[in-house]
C-alpha cells in the first residue's frame, strides 16, 4: 500500500485546454486572410509540440485521465457551441462535418492498425462501400435512413471479411499487397459496372430522420436561415462521440489488451494462448464497420458518390492521417484529420500544391518524429498511474 496518498489532480487545466481548442477552432474556421490562417496554423503546431514536451502536457493529460466523463461532456458541449456559432455558414459547417466523418473513418483505421497492427491500404474503399450502400438503399428502398447507415457499416464489414482469409495467412508486405489490390479492384469494378452508375457515379438523396429532412435549410423566425449542413454537423458530432467512446472503451478493456499483444509480437502472443486470428478479424471488421458508417453519412451529405472519390490516393491519405497523428492515439488522429482536411481549404494559395506539400510534410515527420504529433501514451491500468 502506498504511504503517499495520491491526490486527484485538478480538473481545471483540462477545461482550460478544451476551451482553448474550441476557440482556436472557431477562429481558424472564420479566418479568411491568408496570413491569418498561416499564423494560426503555425501557432497550433508550436503549441502542440510545446504541450508534448513540457509539463503542461502532462498536467492536462493526467487531468483527463483522472475524471474523463465530465471532461468528455465538456468537450462535447464546446464542440456544439462551435457548431452553433457557424450555424449560417454553409462552407464552414461542411468542413466541420467532413472532419468529423473522416475522423470516424480514421478511428476505424486506428483500431485496425494502431491496436491490432493490421495495415489497411483500402480504407477509402470501405468508406465507399458505405457511400454506395447509402446511394442504392436510399434511392430504391424505403428503409429508414438510420438503418441505411447501419447497413452501410455492416456491408463494409462483410466485404472486409472476404479479405480476411488471405490477410490471416500472410505477413507484413504481403498483407499490405492484399489491401492495395483490393483498393484498386474496388475502384475499377465500380467504374466498369453500369448498375452502380459506372464512372458517372450515383446521386444520393439527403438524409431524412423521423420526418426531419436534413437537406432543407432551417428557417428560424422570418429572417434567419440556418444552413442545412447544421443537421449533418450535429449528427456527425454525435457519431464521432460514439466512435470515440467505443475506441476508448475498447482500448482500456481486455479486448484492447489482446489486440496490443497480437500487434507487438504475434508469435509470443500465440504461445501465450491468444487466438491471433480471432483478434485480427475483430479489429479489421470493426474498423471497416466504422469506415462504412462514416461513408454512408458522408455520401448523404454531399449527395453524390463516384468511383473517383475512393481511389488508393484517398486510402493513403487516411493511413497518413493515422500515422501523422500518432499511431493509436485517438486525440492525435482527430488533430491530424482536422489539419489535413481544413488546412488546404483555408490556405488557398497552397490549394494546388496541397498533395505535394502534404506528402513532403509526412516525409519530414517520418524522418524526424516518427511517433507523430501526439504519440500514444503508455497503457494506464489505474487512473493517475501514468504520472511520472
Amino acid at each position: 500500500m502506498n504511504a503517499r496518498v495520491t491526490q486527484r489532480p485538478a480538473l481545471w487545466p483540462a477545461f482550460v485546454a478544451t476551451a482553448a481548442v474550441a476557440s482556436f477552432a472557431y477562429l481558424f474556421l472564420r479566418a479568411e486572410a491568408q496570413w491569418e490562417v498561416a499564423a494560426l496554423a503555425a501557432g497550433a503546431v508550436v503549441a502542440l509540440l510545446v504541450l508534448g514536451r513540457t509539463r503542461l502536457g502532462a498536467v492536462v493529460g493526467s487531468a483527463w485521465g483522472a475524471r474523463p466523463t465530465p471532461l468528455a461532456w465538456g468537450a462535447l458541449l464546446a464542440a456544439l457551441v462551435v457548431v452553433a456559432l457557424f450555424a449560417e455558414d454553409h462552407f464552414a459547417l461542411l468542413m466541420i462535418a467532413t472532419v468529423l466523418l473522416y475522423g470516424v473513418a480514421c478511428l476505424g483505421l486506428t483500431i485496425q492498425f494502431g491496436y491490432a497492427g493490421v495495415v489497411n491500404f483500402s480504407g477509402a474503399a470501405f468508406f465507399g462501400v458505405g457511400g454506395y450502400t447509402a446511394a442504392v438503399l436510399a434511392t430504391h428502398t424505403a428503409l429508414p435512413h438510420l438503418l441505411v447507415v447501419a447497413v452501410g457499416g455492416v456491408l463494409a464489414g462483410a466485404i472486409g471479411s472476404l479479405l480476411v482469409l488471405p490477410l490471416l495467412r500472410t505477413r507484413g508486405h504481403y498483407a499490405a499487397l492484399i489491401t492495395v489490390a483490393f483498393a484498386i479492384l474496388f475502384k475499377t469494378f465500380l467504374e466498369v459496372n453500369d448498375t452502380l452508375g459506372g464512372p458517372q457515379g450515383l446521386k444520393v438523396p439527403g438524409m431524412r430522420m423521423l420526418g426531419w429532412s436534413f437537406n432543407d435549410n432551417i428557417l428560424v423566425g422570418e429572417d434567419v436561415e440556418l444552413s442545412f449542413y447544421l443537421s449533418y454537423a450535429v449528427f456527425s458530432l454525435l457519431l464521432l462521440a460514439g466512435a470515440l467512446v467505443l475506441v476508448r472503451r475498447l482500448e482500456r478493456s481486455w479486448l484492447g489488451l489482446s489486440l496490443d499483444a497480437v500487434r507487438i509480437d504475434e508469435t509470443a502472443a500465440s504461445v501465450f494462448g491468444f487466438e491471433v486470428a480471432r483478434w485480427k478479424i475483430l479489429a479489421f471488421t470493426l474498423g471497416n464497420v466504422l469506415a462504412g458508417v462514416a461513408g454512408a453519412v458522408y455520401a448523404m451529405m454531399t449527395g453524390f458518390v463516384a468511383p473517383a472519390s475512393f481511389t488508393i490516393a484517398e486510402s493513403l491519405i487516411l493511413v497518413s492521417i493515422v500515422i501523422l497523428g500518432g499511431v493509436g492515439n485517438p486525440v492525435g488522429v482527430l488533430a491530424a484529420t482536422a489539419l489535413v482536411v481544413v488546412l488546404p481549404e483555408k490556405l488557398q494559395v497552397i490549394q494546388e500544391y496541397r498533395f505535394l506539400l502534404f506528402s513532403g510534410f509526412v516525409i519530414l515527420v517520418l524522418l524526424f518524429r516518427p511517433e507523430g504529433l501526439l504519440p500514444r501514451k503508455l497503457r494506464q491500468y489505474l487512473p493517475g498511474w501514468g504520472r511520472a
Partner: protein
C-alpha cells in the same frame, strides 16, 4: 427652417455623397467552372479566357451598374471534383451566378448542387441532352447545342458517303454513352450497320484488346464517342495494330490537342460539331479580335465563343434585376431572342437553346477545316479505304 448658407451646404453635401456612392460600384461575383487541368484543359482554359474577356470588356465599358469579379474554379473533368467545387461556389453567398462546365459528366453530377443552393448557371460546352432535359431545375440553362443534332447529321453524312459498316468505341461516362445511344439510333435509321460496340474507361491506356477484336470484325469506319486524350490513344494504337478504317469522332476531339498528339496520323479524321465555325458566326470576328487583343496563352478553342455569350447573358440579367440569385434565375428563364456573338439565343421550356446548324470537320494538313472547304470534299484527296 435652416438659414440659407446652411441649406446650400447641406444640399452640396447630399449631392456629393450621392455622386460618391454612384462612383463606387458594388462588386458582383461570378463563378466560372471548367476543366483547367487534365486532358481537356485546352477547352477549359479557352472557355475561362473567353469569360474573363467578357467580364473585362463589361467592366471597361461605361454603362455597367456593377463591378464584376470572376472566380474561376477547376473541375478537372471529374464528376466528384466538380461536385466539390460546385458546392464550394454555390455555398458562397456572394457568388450570384455561374458559367459552368465543358465536361458533360461533371455537368450531370452538379445540376443537383446548383438546384439545392439556388445558384443560376449557364452551361457553355457540355452537350449531353439530359443536363437540361432530364430535370426541371430552373437554375440550369444552356447556350450550346446538344449531341442529338450532331449525331443525326453525322449518320446522314457518313451513309451519304456510302459507308456501311461501323465499329463503335465509346467511353463509359454518360457523355460517351449518350453519343453511343444517339448515333446508334440515327445510324440504324440511315441504313448503316454496327458490327460491334466497345465501352472503355475514360482513363484507359491500352486498347490492344478492343482493337484486336475490332480488327477481326473488319469495319469501314471506327466511330469514337469520347474526348481528345482517348481519341489520340485509340488512333495511335489503331495504326500500331494495323486497323485500317476511317476515324470518325464527335465534338469531343475537335481541338488542337488532338492534332498535336497525333502528328501526321490525324490526317483524315472526321468530326461533327454544333454551331457554325467561329469566323462565320455573327459576332465571331468581333470576338476573335477582342480575344487576340488580350494576348491569352491559349486559344478560345471550339466553345470559347459560347462561354463569352453565356457570360454576357448572365451579366445582362444582373444589370436588369440586380445581384439576387432568385431574380437572376427568373430573368434568365425568360430569355427570348437574345442577340449574342453566337447568334440568337432563345431558351425553350427546359431552358435549352436550339442550335440547329452542324459543322462537319476534317483534319487536313494539321488543321481542322470545314468539310465543304476541304480537298476531300472536292475529290482531290481520298479518305482511308479499309
Amino acid at each position: 427652417m435652416l438659414p440659407r448658407p446652411l441649406r446650400h451646404a447641406a444640399l452640396c453635401c447630399a449631392l456629393m455623397l450621392a455622386a460618391g456612392t454612384a462612383g463606387a460600384k458594388e462588386a458582383v461575383k461570378l463563378v466560372f467552372i471548367g476543366p483547367l487541368t487534365g486532358g481537356v484543359s485546352a477547352n477549359g482554359l479557352g472557355g475561362r479566357n473567353a469569360t474573363d474577356l467578357a467580364v473585362k470588356l463589361r467592366n471597361a465599358g461605361p454603362k455597367a451598374k456593377y463591378r464584376y469579379e470572376l472566380v474561376s474554379l477547376d473541375d478537372e473533368c471529374k464528376p466528384n471534383i466538380g461536385v466539390q467545387v460546385a458546392t464550394k461556389a454555390a455555398a458562397d453567398r456572394s457568388i450570384v451566378a455561374g458559367v459552368t462546365h465543358y465536361c458533360s459528366t461533371v455537368a450531370m453530377a452538379t445540376v443537383d448542387v446548383y438546384h439545392k443552393f439556388g445558384l443560376p448557371v449557364v452551361v457553355w460546352g457540355a452537350v449531353l441532352p439530359d443536363i437540361t432535359y432530364a430535370n426541371d431545375y430552373a437554375e440550369v440553362h444552356r447556350v450550346n447545342g446538344t449531341m442529338i443534332n450532331q449525331n443525326d447529321t453525322a449518320a446522314e453524312f457518313m451513309t451519304g458517303l456510302k459507308y456501311k459498316r461501323w465499329a463503335v468505341i465509346h467511353d463509359t461516362t454518360d457523355y460517351g454513352k449518350g453519343h453511343n445511344k444517339y448515333f446508334s439510333e440515327y445510324l440504324a435509321k440511315n441504313g448503316g450497320r454496327i458490327l460491334g460496340t466497345f465501352g472503355v474507361t475514360a482513363d484507359q491506356q491500352d486498347f490492344s484488346a478492343e482493337l484486336t477484336k475490332i480488327k477481326e470484325l473488319k469495319p469501314e469506319v471506327v466511330y469514337f464517342g469520347g474526348t481528345t486524350p482517348l481519341g489520340v490513344r485509340i488512333r495511335t494504337q489503331m495504326d500500331k495494330l494495323g486497323v485500317k478504317a476511317v476515324f470518325q469522332g464527335t465534338s469531343g476531339i475537335v481541338s488542337d490537342a488532338y492534332i498535336e498528339g497525333l502528328g501526321p496520323l490525324a490526317e483524315g479524321s472526321l468530326a461533327f460539331r454544333e454551331g457554325a465555325p467561329m469566323e462565320k458566326l455573327p459576332g465571331g470576328k468581333f470576338f476573335l479580335e477582342q480575344y487576340n487583343a488580350q494576348k491569352y496563352n491559349d486559344p478560345p478553342e471550339a466553345y470559347g465563343a459560347f462561354a463569352f455569350a453565356a457570360a454576357n447573358l448572365v451579366m445582362d440579367a444582373i444589370e436588369k434585376v440586380g445581384p439576387d440569385r432568385r431574380k437572376v434565375r427568373s430573368e434568365l428563364n425568360r430569355t427570348r431572342d437574345y442577340q449574342s456573338v453566337v447568334g440568337t439565343i432563345t431558351f425553350d421550356d427546359h431552358r435549352q437553346n436550339a442550335v440547329p446548324l452542324i459543322t462537319k470537320l476534317v483534319v487536313q494538313d494539321g488543321k481542322w477545316i470545314v468539310w465543304e472547304d476541304s480537298d476531300y470534299a472536292k475529290g482531290k484527296r481520298k479518305l482511308v479505304k479499309p
